[in-house]
Assembly symmetry: C2
């Protein structure tokens, strides 16, 4: 049960930050033409920890590109059970919808900066330039691919396997100085992996005892036996 659900939504009212803090990784360099285009077109907005970027079923007015921090996108059941569909880290795009409304809620995990572009402007751009349209499609397809990998994890993997997969994913996305730097809490990890906070904690402790990982602090993880984790990843 996530109990922090009362933050303002106002995008328009947010202060525009002139110089966004540099992302810690190489994500600043454009991965695609249209991500660069977003950087050119957009204004930077800062969100503080646990602040909502947009809510499920709200009109999809903007597209977002993370420049620093981390965002979670999730769905809720009526009784508060939560499933996080994705963590968006610097360089990631989110909020791009084919429909008129957002399919899930987006919240800042930590203090974050994002570049915001009007959806209508992006769509107009895509209509004019076929390459942009294709990039947009490719982005959505990548999201779909990640969602499908997560389906396999949630439907068929054990707790150990889930955590192993998560660690390998984060090692690719958020390594800094040889260790994974987690921006998210145990609760976020649990809601991403379809587990409870206790199971995540226990599994990490077991892996530490087995010397598969090291836990210098609870937000910092070093992989000590990557082959073993890869095997668990199947």
């Amino acid at each position: 049960m996530p109990s922090e659900r009362t933050m303002q939504t106002s995008v328009a009212a947010k202060p525009i930050v002139a110089s966004a803090p540099r992302p810690p990784r190489a994500a600043v360099t454009g991965r695609s033409a249209w991500a660069d285009a977003l950087r050119m077109m957009g204004a930077t907005i800062a969100y503080s920890r646990n602040e909502e970027v947009y809510g499920e079923d709200e009109p999809a007015e903007f597209v977002y590109l993370v420049t620093s921090g981390a965002i979670r996108t999730y769905k809720l059941l009526s009784d508060g059970r939560r499933q996080i569909a994705a963590f968006r880290l610097p360089g990631d795009i989110f909020g791009l919808e084919a429909g008129e409304t957002h399919a899930f809620t987006a919240e800042a995990i930590a203090d974050s900066s994002v570049i915001v572009v009007r959806r209508s402007a992006v769509l107009a751009h895509a209509a004019r330039d076929g390459a942009v349209a294709r990039d947009m499609w490719a982005e959505t397809a990548r999201d779909l691919g990640r969602a499908q990998d997560l389906l396999l994890l949630l439907g068929r993997k054990s707790a150990q396997e889930r955590v192993a997969t998560f660690l390998l994913e984060m090692a690719d996305r958020a390594t800094y100085g040889g260790a994974i730097e987690l921006p998210m809490s145990r609760q976020d990890i649990a809601d991403y992996l379809g587990l409870t906070i206790e199971t995540v904690s226990r599994t990490l402790s077991q892996m530490e005892h087995a010397a598969t990982i090291a836990l210098p602090s609870c937000r910092r993880i070093e992989l000590r036996n990557r082959p073993l984790l890869s095997r668990l990843n199947s």
Copy 2:
């Protein structure tokens, strides 16, 4: 553990069927301009029960439109655990990838007919016509939306809730004469819902005893208390 994994793949070698059997539902009428375009451009191919349409990681050469029968798309873990990502029924499009290879395996659940179009032809068409490009994107986004709903189901719902969600989904997609006509086996349902075959069977039996549903035969289900199912669907 699915034990039927040895079927030929050859698309090129398949016999072209002149007149595809009529789909049982209204799916023949075009839902989108580009689905109609696929119908114009493509050749019809028949697949028999359990035959593979394409395998994971194979080059994505074709795009498919189901005209009769049903297709499952899934991923496997190395030890055979299976997660079905989607059931494709008449009117559905599948196999459209942004990358060069297929992200999962597609197999016929029952004897099926599909219209096949070269991916390159579809992409060329999209490059020429912005509306087609947009339809392609919308199709991928719809898939993504369905995948995200499934994430919530697999990550956070109980067995009862999963089955209820499945029944409501199938009621929308495969109702015929007031009852759901299931094209797939219990094993397929289990691998879609992240459960075992026994749990699916038991849950359906419980629902029958509670008069929530009726089971005239094991492939035929009538919903007797839809509000209750909707409540379970959250």
